[in-house]
Amino acid sequence: MTDAITIKNLNYGYPEQGELFKDFNFSVQEGEWLAIVGHNGSGKSTLSKLVLGLLDFDKGEIDVFGQRLSEDTLASIRAQVGMVFQNPDNQFVGATVADDVAFGLENRQVPSKEMPAKIEAALQQVGMEAYAEREPHTLSGGQKQRVALASILALKPRVIILDEATAMLDPEGKQAVMATLKELKARYQDQLTLIMITHDMEEAALADRVAVINDGQLVFDEQPETLFLKGKQLEELGLAQPFAMALQSALGVTPATYRTKQELATWLSTLKA
């Protein structure tokens, strides 16, 4: 498999706050669904901003699909990487949902006669086609985030980064966004690389791989099923353990393999005295 993103010997620090990343190395493969987790201030959002060239780094190299990030390649890299941010209210420019999706296409100079079909297709993929003529402010948070996703999908990105995109949503909104992501991944498979920055472990559980970042360092990098077995260590890093792990640990059980809530309930029933 080819690398979607390769980071080599990256050094970066915020002004006045000292070094955050020091000789940081990391890669994301094409078609992967990756979750990056870490406590507030761990550097996980900074990393995505560095990849998009939104922040300048001091030393190191970032390659996106083999292209070295530099002033010359910035536009080409941003064309391949779409980003959904945390606050659903800060990402709208259009007067209607359809206008909003059109905005990105206009920037890419897509001929106007091709636009309606592209907008329709993008909205369909996130289940928002019925809302094309609605004003964005009349939508719920979860609907707004799905429109933000549609605006990116219309541009056919190879990588989508979601930076705590569900943090401001209510449970229904969260579920709708996560269901949409699952559908997109099933549809595009290896054609789409998903990077989800989150501290919600239930969300991270959906990824193929979870990278745990702490103070600019990669602490764990593995499948969710094995990562979650490190329950206590996750808590020490300021992260939550999944509920099923916390309950087993309170029962004095150290499972050999990860159990979901449902699996745990079934298993405990077999142990009933």
């Binding site: 507030n40 948070g141 401001m168 309930a265 405990l268 142990l271 005295a273």
Partner: protein, 302 residues
């Protein structure tokens, strides 16, 4: 400061164009207690709390805030002193930071309500200490801080005015577990100081851990108003009807009940749930862990 809402109706607009939002609300928010308000998005929660700090006035009925009474006829001028007594911490309050330094940002509120420079500085320093903000960062720009630090500055900005009632709208959203735990502790401290605390939250774990009583809103009306233990003892189907989740411990407890387990108490914590479960499990089987394999399938990447 006690808040009482009596026979409150609220509608947006005027004349024939009105859109009723709140209908026949009767509620009491006691001192030294945390009252959680929960309900689906659009159920009227936010409109309700805007009556508490009088950003909105009732269309009918009365809101008693300490010694003040607010009705549809209350003049705008009479509302200003009430607003100083009810502090609002809106969702993502850090988006409202604006001053060049942390300290100046927190001093802004007290100064605006007439405190001298010296008084405002003292109030700000105390408030920042209360939210656990590192004093070495007082002169930093608030915009160079991490999300969790910005949230604390914004909270301190409200605390510095020392309001007797505080309304928190999803105060922990977007914070990591440690930040959430610290924030919940702060709410408990404020409650123990005798303040009236109102908490809007979608996170049922928070409601279970913090609230003394819970108000459930549905379609602009109060669907339930009762102590937190009574609320979560309701059947699962009732919560599904309200489009509300149950806290994970309680959802799991109810699931185990269906499989023949019995519980004396509502499991407020994971430890308590484990304790109540352990007594009903075969100790030998539980002790023999290393050989136990996963019971059902599931995606395993190898």
């Amino acid at each position: 400061m006690v808040i009482n809402i009596e026979g409150l109706d609220f509608a947006y607009g005027a004349g024939k164009q009105t859109v009723p939002v709140l209908k026949n609300i009767n509620l009491n928010f006691p001192e030294g207690e945390i009252t959680a308000i929960i309900g689906q998005t659009g159920s009227g929660k936010s409109t309700l709390v805007q009556q508490l700090n009088v950003l909105l006035k009732p269309t009918a009925g009365e809101v008693h805030i300490g010694d003040h009474v607010v009705t549809s006829k209350t003049k705008e001028k009479a509302l200003t002193p009430i607003r100083a007594e009810v502090g609002m911490v809106f969702q993502f309050p850090e988006s409202q930071l604006f001053a060049p330094t942390v300290l100046e940002d927190v001093m802004y509120g007290p100064k605006n309500f007439g405190a001298t420079e010296e008084e405002a500085k003292q109030a700000a320093e105390e408030a920042l200490a209360k939210v656990g903000f590192d004093a070495s960062l007082f002169e930093q720009s608030p915009f160079n801080l991490s999300g969790g630090q910005m949230r604390r500055v914004a909270l301190a900005g409200v605390l510095a005015m020392n309001p007797q009632t505080m309304v928190f709208d999803e105060p922990a959203a977007g914070l990591d577990p440690q930040g959430q735990a610290e924030l919940l502790d702060l709410l408990k401290t404020l409650r123990d100081e005798g303040k009236t605390i109102v908490l809007i939250s979608h996170q049922m774990e928070q409601v279970l851990a913090l609230a003394d009583q819970v108000v459930v809103m549905k379609d602009g009306q109060v669907a339930a108003h009762e102590p937190v233990e009574e609320l979560f003892a309701r059947p699962q189907a009732w919560f599904a009807d309200q489009h509300l989740d149950l806290p994970e411990t309680i959802a799991f407890q109810k699931q185990m009940e269906k499989q023949g387990f019995t519980f004396e108490h509502l499991a407020k914590t994971v430890d308590n749930l484990a304790e109540q479960l352990a007594g009903q499990l075969d100790p030998a089987a539980l002790a023999d862990q290393s050989t136990v394999q996963k019971q059902t399938g599931g995606s395993q990447h190898e």
